[in-house]
């Protein structure tokens, strides 16, 4: 039986003590173990940032790639071998800032990946600049008069692009988060989990306590994630009450289900043959 401990890495964890990332890491391991996925069956792909260090602190296959570019890399890894179970760890800057275009088009592609966007509303690794999700008025060393851009709403944007699995988790609710991750991993298509994550070093507003006082689990309310416009309304809720859980879920064929060339099995497994090309050249 696979246990969370199987994903334990010998690498020193380089996050600040108290960082919300620990909760996310624990939830991931827990979810993988609960689904019986052992380390050699899992590929974790990440960009650059504190969030993106996650696979370094796990025992599994990994690709620690470029800032903002985890999604296209993961997309094509999946196309090359659609049997792969791929998780993507990314940050709010990585996913919605530098990687914003890939985010949009990965949603449109409905490629079967599970994306954990560690959303601490700040650029952690580069020491506290505003991120796309920073709230208006956030003061940083660069935004001395406060952020004046509208915050990016990951759930609403994903929904507007017709994502089939849109969820929000909170790093402080490990079991709830693990349950979302499990469902996302079982979902056949693009699954976004935006994870609220305190950054103890640079976000002194949206703290563990701040979230704890506000989050509520959708599963405990009478909420059905099947209604698109209702999900859109739910995605707007932010303030004294912040919903966590699966906001929207709809089944549809994933990208690799629909690619013609993949009907005979993963690309990586197909055998090379010189015949088709020789034929083709003959016909010219």
């Amino acid at each position: 039986m696979v246990t969370a401990a199987d994903f334990e890495s010998k690498t020193e964890i380089k996050w600040c003590p108290g960082c919300g990332n620990f909760g996310i890491l624990a939830a991931m391991k827990d979810a993988l173990a609960k689904l019986g996925l052992s380390p050699e069956k899992v590929l974790v792909i990440s960009g650059i940032g504190q969030a993106a260090k996650t696979p370094e602190f796990m025992q599994c296959n990994m690709f620690h790639a470029l800032h903002g570019r985890a999604l296209p890399l993961a997309t094509a890894a999946k196309i090359a071998n659609h049997n792969l179970k791929i998780l993507v760890n990314t940050g709010d800057g990585d996913c919605y800032g530098e990687g914003g275009n890939h985010f949009m088009h990965a949603v449109r592609r409905n490629i079967d990946l599970t994306v954990l966007a560690h959303n601490n509303m700040v650029y952690g690794l580069t020491k506290g600049q505003a991120s796309p999700t920073s709230e208006r008025g956030t003061i940083t060393r660069v935004h001395q008069h406060g952020v004046i851009m509208e915050p990016f709403n990951p759930l609403a944007v994903a929904l507007s692009l017709k994502a089939g699995f849109v969820a929000r988790g909170f790093s402080g609710r490990m079991e709830h988060l693990s349950s979302i991750i499990q469902q996302a991993l079982q979902y056949n298509g693009f699954s976004l989990i935006d994870v609220l994550q305190p950054c103890v070093s640079f976000n002194h507003v949206n703290t563990h306590r701040w979230y704890s006082e506000r989050v509520y689990e959708l599963e405990k309310e009478n909420y059905s994630p099947a209604d698109y416009m209702q999900a859109m309304v739910k995605a707007q809720e932010w303030g004294n009450r912040i919903p966590i859980g699966i906001v929207y879920k709809q089944d549809k064929p994933s990208f690799t289900d629909q690619v013609f060339a993949l009907k005979d099995g993963p690309l990586v497994d197909r055998t090379y043959s010189p015949e088709p090309l020789r034929e083709l050249l003959k016909e010219l």
């Binding site: 899992v42 690709f63 790639a65 060339a261 083709l280």
Partner: protein, 566 residues
């Protein structure tokens, strides 16, 4: 050469001059002749001016000719623009609504005849008919080609076009024409192919399984050729949201175990530069085809140039080994593309192939059969049980710098790739010793990669005076050499297809013999010349540069050399 005829067909975009040209080319090829054709067009879909210029010969030709024997004008602008290129006894044919009279111009009522044949859409066929008749081609040959060309279309379409062909043919029946020649016979000559096809087929011969791209001229045609045949291969061609995605995608697919490639032009290559470095750092094999066009920036999007050599050699921050190739012919484009996919995988490095609009959009006769390998060596370590489980380290230091490669989720080995500096196990490190080890490991590949580089190709390489070039200009330079030698000048050429790592030793030796050498490039600063200066500490005796977006003509080079070498 007994036959050396150049036909230029000009008109607006959307008038289908390519169709006329294609029919002409096919007719020649089927009849055992050689052809070489260039495509010249603006960045627009309708209107403006474009031309198709085909050279017909009984010998292999690989360069355009600067003089036109037959000018076919589908509009008046063509006449104005190109009349001066026509040889003294050349023929000018004008497609017009009515057969009007203009001094020295044969006016054919192409559009009226087309209407008669069944529709204005057949005007191309009419024009092709007149053209072939004037060239002295047999009507049956032409009709057979029409049938082949329109195979799969409705019988009505075929009938209309056959009628159009006849009408066009008959419109000039009996006319004498200086461009006419004896059509040899019925043994087809090799195969007719666009340069871009040779890259696409080469990729398939290199077992390409995944291509990602974002549309950009002149690279797009490589991808459309791939998609056209994709269904018979284990091949996915994915249109990405941008070039950044395309480049990162092929890293992902390659990591997961399939040979992967992208194609773009300079502007798109710019956007791939960061991913190029990621491939370098993570030692993930990828192939990038950079189809050059004149810049900077958007420049002249549908024209040709060789302005990206220095750029691709040093693109991306810090240092890592890469291959840079630049095929000089479709045959080389085929073999280099297959080789690049293979070598990238063998050395776990990125490989860049520099082509250009001239090479890709030209039409060639290929005689040599393309070599399709029986099997593909994959250089994986997945059958090595010593590499199973925790023993496996993705970046194991070896003498050649190449580490045993495993694929993720295929066996018990955990595979860690990392764009941060890493230790052998793939995890991020900041240690001095580890850093040094990894830099040295990556660079250790260079001498081995160098062994793989083909020397520059000599042509009369023992000559006193050498023309040195790279990439798509090979055929043109070779013909310039012929022209010069015909005038008694002891001249030869040295042509680079394998550019980086630079084959220093052999290049030095081959250049040593020449007392003078001139570098010929389609750019404005002489980038190969700079590279030769840097690598061989030798300065060329002169540069022969052209940067107007158009390919060289052999005579241009020959004349300039005579001037320079005087």
């Amino acid at each position: 050469m007994n036959i050396d005829i150049t036909v230029k067909i000009g008109g607006e975009a959307g008038q289908g001059i390519q169709t006329v040209g294609q029919i002409l080319a096919l007719a020649c090829q089927k009849s055992g002749l050689y052809v070489f054709a260039i495509n010249d067009f603006e960045s627009r879909i309708r209107g403006g001016h474009s031309f198709f210029q085909i050279r017909i010969s009984d010998k292999q030709v690989r360069a355009p000719h600067h003089q036109v024997n037959m000018l076919i004008c589908l509009d008046r602008r063509t006449l104005a623009l190109h009349r001066s290129e026509v040889v003294a006894d050349g023929i000018i044919m004008m497609a017009a609504q009515d057969a009007g009279a203009e001094q020295g111009v044969l006016t054919i009522p192409v559009f009226a005849l087309a209407d008669k044949a069944g529709g204005s859409i057949t005007a191309n066929t009419v024009a092709a008919g007149s053209c072939l008749a004037l060239l002295g081609a047999p009507l049956e040959l032409f009709l057979a080609i029409i049938e082949k060309q329109f195979a799969g279309k409705s019988t009505e379409t075929i009938a209309q076009n056959s009628a159009a062909a006849r009408l066009g043919y008959e419109a000039v029946a009996g006319m004498k024409c200086s461009a006419a020649f004896n059509w040899p016979g019925q043994n087809p000559r090799g195969i007719l192919m666009e340069g871009s096809q040779s890259v696409a087929f080469g990729a398939l011969a290199g077992d390409l399984r995944f291509a990602a791209f974002y549309p950009m001229s002149p690279a797009t045609s490589i991808l459309t050729h791939l998609t056209a045949v994709a269904d018979t291969f284990p091949l996915v061609v994915e249109q990405a949201e941008d070039e950044i995605a395309a480049a990162n995608m092929i890293i992902g697919s390659s990591f997961a175990g399939v040979r992967s490639m992208t194609a773009t032009s300079g502007g798109g290559f710019c956007l791939m530069v960061e991913a190029l470095g990621l491939a370098g750092m993570t030692e993930t094999p990828i192939v990038i085809v950079n189809a050059q066009r004149p810049g900077p920036a958007t420049g002249l999007p549908t024209r040709t140039g060789q302005g990206d050599l220095q750029f691709v050699i040093s693109a991306s921050q810090d240092e890592f080994p890469r291959f840079v190739f630049a095929p000089g012919s479709p045959e080389e484009a085929f073999s280099i593309t297959a080789r690049a996919l293979n070598l990238a995988e063998k050395y776990q490095v990125p490989a860049i192939i520099l082509v250009d609009q001239f090479l890709l959009d030209s039409l060639y006769i290929i005689e040599k059969e393309f070599a399709v390998p029986d099997r593909i060596e994959r250089y994986f370590a997945d059958n090595d049980s010593a590499m199973d489980g925790p023993a496996y380290k993705r970046y194991t230091v070896t003498a050649t710098g190449v580490s045993p490669r495993r694929l993720p989720c295929r066996g018990s080995a955990l595979v860690a790739a990392n764009g941060n500096e890493h230790s052998e196990d793939g995890h991020t490190t900041e240690e001095i010793a580890e850093r040094n080890k990894m830099v040295q490991k990556r660079l250790a590949k260079v001498p081995h990669m160098l062994q793989e580089m083909e020397p520059p190709h000599p042509y009369c390489g023992d000559a006193h005076l050498l023309l040195v070039g790279w990439g798509s200009t090979a055929g043109t330079i070779q013909e310039a050499v012929d022209l010069l030698r015909a005038e008694g000048i002891d001249c030869g050429a040295l042509h680079f297809s394998d550019l980086w790592p630079f084959p220093v030793e052999v290049a030095k030796k081959m250049l040593e013999k020449a007392s003078r050498f001139y570098v010929v490039e389609n750019n404005a600063t002489g980038q190969l010349a700079q590279l030769i200066r840097q690598e061989l500490l030798r300065a060329p005796d002169g540069l022969l540069l052209k940067y107007d977006g158009r390919p060289f003509y052999p005579v241009e080079i020959a004349n300039k050399i005579k001037e320079l070498a005087r």
